[in-house]
């Protein structure tokens, strides 16, 4: 039940953010000439109308959906709460590592951070040492290929 509430809350926050973005784009589009504002306002207006209808739909039921049930995605509903927490932790760790990879890569160059990212994730997921070594070395090789063969400058950062 708690999980259902979490999903519903998360979903509401996501829908609210989407609606806020649409409202911002709709209002600021008035700064553009009429020909340039038509599409941004049409798209954001559509999102706003759909969001309003979703709210209204809670009070005046009408079948806008083919399946009204809240979808519990990601894993089976009968999983234990411990397993769910572990799943979520794994996902959050990966999300944090990806964010770190990109931001630190922006600061010092993706080439230097690539092996660190791969090594950190493989160690976190407790892979055998030789698997960790091989994958880390292979991905460093991939980054090197980008530098040498594709002439992409990932050695220097963007700052």
């Amino acid at each position: 039940m708690n999980r259902l509430t979490d999903v519903a809350r998360g979903e509401h926050v996501f829908a609210a953010l989407l609606t806020a973005l649409a409202a911002y784009m709709f209002v600021t589009a008035y700064d553009f000439p009429p020909a340039a504002r038509l599409f941004p306002q049409a798209a954001s207006g559509l999102v706003l109308v759909a969001a309003v209808l979703r709210v209204v739909n809670r009070f005046i039921p009408y079948e806008f959906t083919r399946n009204d049930s809240v979808v519990l995605s990601g894993s089976d509903a009968d999983e234990s709460s411990t397993s769910e927490t572990e799943d979520r932790t794994r996902m959050l760790v990966l999300g944090t590592l990806i964010t770190g990879y990109i931001f630190v890569g922006y600061a010092v160059g993706l080439f230097w951070v690539t092996p660190l990212f791969a090594f950190a994730y493989l160690v976190y997921t407790r892979q055998k040492w030789w698997v960790t070594a091989i994958i880390t070395a292979a991905l460093t090789g991939v980054a090197y290929v980008f530098v040498v063969l594709m002439n992409v400058d990932i050695v220097t950062g963007g700052i």
């Binding site: 020909a35 799943d87 990109i102």
Partner: protein, 502 residues
């Protein structure tokens, strides 16, 4: 005669070096990508696209078509061996493939899948090549106003692709169009939502957005799963290649019928392999002399699903290449790859760049032979693919995605787009917002806007231009029917029934 010359030139292009090697490489990569559940076609193509930057446009597209075909076959490997479809379009294959594998006939099932996929590919490619001259004359009838109307028609398909909440899918589609409006407005020197950032002047990179939506969000989801892909019990890789080939060749009607189903349904935007395989499976069961065997390892079931699955590729390329409307998420990525190489789907592909169009469909036919050869070669070792630990796949995909996104324009802005849209895509999928609807908005929004601007400047601002010819009127009516049909149709049917009962 001109068509024949173009066809011969396309055959030469595809069969010469490095064309044929790129097809083989593409099919191998596709089989691996398709065989890994959670990876699939769109993700494999999205990651491979930046690597094509160094190739010429024709070679790049040949390589990507090879991947697309390989994915369609690869999806059946884990479906047959472990009851886990590698892609949505392989879901129907689990119904008969897994029971066959449990009976110790995994090699039979994998061979049937490889041969049927190959024949489906071949028939689909030949059929589209045959109708291509007609298709060319149809496409050349379309001008700027028609392309605007087709784009709007494509956007209205969000209603058809909607499987969950319609309002959420409208929001997803609208969000796609919203993102597409970032950057300089078409035909006007106006910057929109760029916040003075140079990286936003050309808008959000479509390929970077696709990499984020498919790669990062999918890896976040996969990280929750952990462990090896295989979840089922051990399956003996038993059976024989020869008997598998004989089984397929003994069912020519099922093969042809299922390929036609795949071709036709693939041509309907938003449907794709996941729909066509179940329809072909249902039809094979209906027409079978032994329908009671279905569900317990009926070979006909695999023949039907796999031939229709691969024929879907040819079908889905028709709306993709003619109007830029993606037939599936995988073809949406293919549109991104075309755009990356400066190719815009539409009349140009049927005029000045007709050689590329022919090369694409010749590639499909060549792919059928490559899939047959590689498919039969790997049947006994295919099982190893599904024992790979997801924790090993994840850093590989993420590194390829991030480096690939950076290589698109050599700027970090695209990398941030990958991160942002990866997170957004994860939440969209978690909360049941359609990614297909989002992609339709992202792809068709700019096409619609650009053609609307051009049309209105042709007509001095009058909207009458969209009703001026029977073709345009037809497109308007078709759009209206698609939008209101699902709501008015049942009411009219109810009314009609009550009148007849009275």
């Amino acid at each position: 005669m001109a068509d024949l010359n173009v066809l011969i030139h396309a055959i030469e292009t595809v069969l010469s070096w490095p064309g044929i090697a790129l097809i083989a490489l593409g099919v191998v990569i596709g089989i691996i990508g398709g065989g890994l559940p959670g990876v699939g076609g769109a993700l494999t193509l999205a990651i491979a696209t930046p690597f094509t930057l160094q190739m010429g446009a024709v070679n790049a597209i040949i390589f990507l078509i090879g991947i697309y075909n390989g994915v369609m076959y690869g999806g059946s490997i884990s479906a047959i061996l472990f009851n886990v479809p590698g892609s949505a379009s392989a879901a129907a294959t689990t119904l008969e493939g897994y029971p066959m594998a449990r009976e110790g006939r995994a090699v039979d099932a994998l061979t049937i899948s490889a041969v049927s996929s190959s024949i489906g590919d071949f028939l689909g490619g030949v059929a589209v090549l045959a109708i291509l001259p007609v298709l060319v004359s149809v496409v050349l009838m379309f001008g700027t106003p028609e392309y605007f109307l087709v784009a709007v028609l494509g956007l209205s398909l969000i209603i058809i692709v909607s499987e969950g909440s319609f309002l959420k899918d409208v929001m997803a589609g609208g969000f796609g169009v919203m993102l597409a409006t970032v950057g300089v407005a078409p035909m006007l020197p106006v910057q929109r939502y760029t916040f003075g950032q140079l990286g936003l002047y050309n808008g959000i990179s479509f390929v970077a957005a696709l990499i984020g939506i498919f790669a990062v969000s999918e890896m976040l989801r996969l990280s929750k799963q952990g462990g090896a892909i295989s979840r089922g019990g051990a399956v003996d890789i038993g059976g024989s290649v020869r008997s598998g080939i004989r089984t397929v060749l003994a069912k020519p009607i099922t093969l042809v019928k299922s390929s036609v189903i795949g071709l036709l349904i693939g041509a309907v935007p938003g449907s794709g392999g996941s729909v066509s395989t179940f329809i072909a499976y249902g039809e094979a069961k209906r027409a079978s002399k032994n329908p009671e065997k279905f569900g317990d390892g009926a070979e006909e079931g695999i023949v039907a699903t796999e031939s229709s699955n691969n024929a879907t590729v040819s079908g889905s390329l028709i709306p993709t290449l003619t109007f830029g409307i993606p037939g599936s998420t995988t073809t949406a990525v293919l549109i991104g790859a075309l755009m990356l190489h400066g190719i815009r789907p539409g009349p140009a592909l049927f005029g000045a760049q007709i050689n590329l169009t022919y090369s694409i469909f010749v590639t499909l036919i060549v792919c059928s032979f490559v899939i047959l050869a590689l498919g039969l070669l790997v049947v006994r070792w295919a099982g190893y693919l599904t024992t790979v630990n997801t924790s090993i796949i994840i850093p590989i995909i993420i590194v390829l995605s991030v480096l690939g996104a950076f290589s698109l324009n050599s700027n970090y802005f695209d990398v941030f787009v990958v991160l942002t849209l990866g997170i957004i895509g994860y939440f969209m999928e978690s909360y049941d917002y359609s990614l297909v609807a989002f992609l339709l908005g992202l792809i068709l929004g700019p096409i619609a806007e650009e053609n609307l601007s051009r049309s209105l400047s042709l007509s001095n601002g009058s909207f009458d231009i969209f009703f001026a010819t029977p073709l345009r009127l037809f497109l308007v009516v078709a759009t209206v029917v698609i939008i209101v049909g699902p709501y008015i149709g049942p009411a009219l049917k109810k009314q009609f029934n009550s009148i007849t009962e009275a």
